[in-house]
Symmetry: C2
C-alpha cells in the first residue's frame, strides 16, 4: 500500500519537526509493506504574509483529492487581530470534516502516578463556528458569538470515543501493561448552565454510548461538569481513560492534560475524519527557540504514528511508539525541554536507530 | 456599624458550613465595633422541590432591600434536566448585579511551591446569559446558545482586577511575606478564535488596565489564551498574581486553581457588586458526606472574611484569616479532606479559640 502524505510545516519550529515526521515514515521497515509519497503544502502566518491567505485553496484541494493523510506543524498567530487572517488549522478541520481531535496523554506505567488517557475533542462546531457580530448600545459595544451543538456531531464524536475505548481495551487484553481495569468514557459538558446546547451533547453522547457494541464490551460511561473535570484532571488523572468533550472544553482539557506530562514537546494529536487523518504536534510554533535546531521532535513522531493508527496501519504505528518510548526510557538523548542537551537531529537519529 | 447578613445554606453540607460562618462573625472581638444581624433565607434544590422555585422572590428582595451582604452555602443540581429548575446562584449573581466572582487561591509562603493568586471572574454575561434555542434539521436536532460579551462588563471586571492587584500590592508593601515582586494582571481569553467577543474582552480589559492609577503604581499587564492559561496554571502557578477572565473561562480556571491547593474545602469565593458581597465556599453540596458533621468549614470561614473585605471591613477579615491560618499551620485539628479526623464542630471551635 502506498500512502500519499501532505506535509504542512507552517511556521516556526513546525519547519524543524515536520521533516522529522517525514524521515520516520520513510524509515519504517520494508516488511510492513508500506510506501510513502510526500507532497509539500503551504499554510500559516508566513503564507498569509506572502500571499494574503493563511490557508491556500490549493492546500485544501490537494489534501482532498490527492492525499491519504497529512502532518501539520504549527502556525504563529499574529499578536493583534489582523483583518483577513484566521487560523488555518481550524479552517482545515472544518473543510476536510475532520470531526475528531484525538489527543493521547500518557506517562510510562512505572511513573509514580502513571497516566494513560485520551481526550477526544469534537472538532467542527461549538463556538468554533465563529459566527460573531458586534453592535453598539448606549452602554458601549456588545459582541455575540454562537455556540452551536448538533446531535449529528455529538453522536459521531461520542461513537468515536467509544471506538477508541474499545480499541484501547483490546490492546490491554493483548497483554499491554495498563493502569485501567476496564474501558471508561467520561462525557464532559456544562449542562447545569447550558441545558439545551450542552444538554444535547450530553444526552446524545449518552445515547450513542448506550449502543450494544459498547455496552456488551463493558464500556462504562460517566459524566463530569467541565469545571469539575479540570479539577479532577489534576487531582486524580490516573482515573481517566477516554474523555469526550465539545470543541472548546476539549481544547482546554487537551492543554490541561498535556500539563500532566513532562513537556508539550511530547504530546501528539490527530485530526480525524472518515478515512483521513492529520497528525499535529500539540506544541505551537515556539518562536523563542525557532531556528536553533533544539525543538523536541517527539510530539511530531508520535503524531505521525497516531495518523497511521487512524489510517488502519496499527502495526506501523506501534513500531514508531516503541522506538520513541525506547529513546525516552533510556533518557540519554533528550532535548532541552526535557532537561537534556540533545538537538532535534540527535533525537531523530536515536529514534530511527531503534526503529 | 451593624451589618445585616443574609444566610442561604442551600442544600447538603451547605447546611453544616453556613452556621459556622455565622458563628465566626458573631465571635469577632467587640473592639472592632462591628455588630451583625442575620436573616435566614431559602434557595436551592430542596426549596425547588418544596415550592417549585429554586430562588424565591423573597430571598432576592430581602437581600436587595434589607441586607449588606450574605453567605451562600451550596446547592445540589438535579442529575437530569428538570423543567423550571435553574441554578439559583447564577440567577442571584445577575439579579443583584454581583458582577465579579473573586476567588483567592493561596498556599502558605513556606510551601515547596508557594502559590498566591486571585481569579477574578466576570459574573453576569458570556454563555451565562443562557439564551438558548433548539431546532430540528434533516440531520437531527441542533441547539444554539449566545455568548455575549459587553464593553461595559469587561471594563468593570478588568478595573476590579486592577483594584485587587493594587490592594494586594499595598498589603505586601506593609511587610506581608510574598512570592510576587510587583502587581501583575493576566488577561485570559480566546481571541485567536473568537476575535469579536473575546477580542472585545481583551481590548477593553487592556484599555481599563492602562488607566493612570494602575500604570503609575506599576501594575504589569499580560495575556494568556485560555487553553495555554490552564497549561501554565499547572506548570508555573507561582507566576500568577491576579487573573481576569470572562465568566466561563473564569469558572473553569477557578476550579483548576482550586486543584492546586490541598482541598476544595479550603477555597473561598465572593460574588461582588457595588457595595454588596456574597461569600460562597467553592465546594459543592457534597451529598456523599452530608449529615456526617465532617464537612470542612474553612472555605466558608474564609468566604465570610472575603465578604467582609469587600464590605470594607478589612481589619475584621484579617482576624478571621489569621485564625484560620493558625489552625492550618498547627495542623492538629483538621477535617478528613485534609487527612485529619476533626469534625466540623472541632475545627470551628479551634478557629474561634484563635480569634
Ligand atoms: C491555535 C488554536 C486556534 C487551536 C484551537 O483552539 O483549536 C489550538 O489551541 C489547538 O488546540 O489546536
Ligand atoms: C453550579 C454552577 C452553575 C456554578 C457556575 O458555573 O457558576 C459553579 O460552578 C460555580 O462556579 O459557582
Amino acid at each position: 500500500r502506498t500512502l500519499r502524505i501532505g506535509l504542512i510545516p507552517g511556521d516556526g519550529i513546525g519547519k524543524e519537526v515536520i521533516p522529522a515526521g517525514r524521515r520516520i515514515l520513510e524509515a519504517l521497515p520494508a516488511s510492513l509493506g508500506l510506501k510513502f509519497e510526500f507532497v509539500d503544502l503551504k499554510a500559516g502566518w508566513e503564507t498569509f504574509e506572502q500571499t494574503g491567505v493563511a490557508l491556500p485553496e490549493e492546500t485544501v484541494s490537494v489534501l482532498k483529492s490527492d492525499c491519504d493523510g497529512a502532518l501539520f506543524g504549527a502556525v504563529s498567530s499574529p499578536t493583534k487581530a489582523v483583518k483577513g487572517y484566521s487560523s488555518p488549522i481550524v479552517a482545515l478541520r472544518k473543510k476536510l470534516d475532520l470531526y475528531a481531535n484525538v489527543r493521547p496523554v500518557k506517562t510510562v506505567v512505572t511513573a509514580p502516578k502513571p497516566i494513560d488517557m485520551v481526550i477526544v475533542r469534537e472538532n467542527t462546531e461549538d463556538l468554533y463556528v465563529k459566527e460573531e457580530k458586534t453592535y453598539d448600545t448606549p452602554q458601549g459595544k456588545v459582541a455575540e458569538a454562537i455556540k452551536r451543538i448538533s446531535q449529528r456531531a455529538s453522536s459521531r464524536i461520542a461513537t468515536m470515543a467509544g471506538e477508541i475505548a474499545l480499541r484501547r481495551q483490546k490492546i490491554r487484553a493483548g497483554g499491554a501493561p495498563s493502569i485501567h481495569n476496564g474501558p471508561l468514557v467520561t462525557i464532559t459538558h456544562k449542562s447545569n448552565v447550558l441545558s439545551q446546547t450542552d444538554g444535547l451533547f450530553r444526552s446524545t453522547a449518552r445515547e450513542a454510548l448506550a449502543a450494544a457494541r459498547f455496552q456488551d464490551s463493558g464500556v462504562a460511561v460517566e459524566e463530569q461538569i467541565v469545571d469539575s473535570m479540570v479539577y479532577k484532571l489534576f487531582r486524580q488523572p490516573e482515573a481517566y481513560d477516554v474523555i469526550v468533550a465539545p470543541n472548546l472544553y476539549g481544547d482546554i482539557l487537551s492543554d490541561g492534560a498535556a500539563a500532566l506530562v513532562g513537556s508539550l514537546g511530547l504530546v501528539p494529536s490527530a485530526n480525524v475524519g472518515e478515512g483521513f487523518a492529520i497528525g499535529e504536534p500539540c506544541h505551537g510554533s515556539a518562536p523563542d527557540i525557532q531556528g536553533q535546531g533544539i525543538a523536541n521532535p517527539i510530539a511530531t513522531l508520535r503524531s505521525a504514528a497516531l495518523m497511521l493508527e487512524f489510517l488502519n496501519e496499527e502495526a506501523a504505528a506501534a513500531k514508531i511508539y516503541a522506538a520513541v518510548d525506547g529513546n525516552l526510557e533510556e533518557g540519554k538523548l533528550l532535548s532541552p525541554d526535557l532537561g537534556g542537551k540533545a538537538t532535534t537531529e540527535e533525537v531523530v537519529q536515536d529514534v530511527l536507530r531503534r526503529l
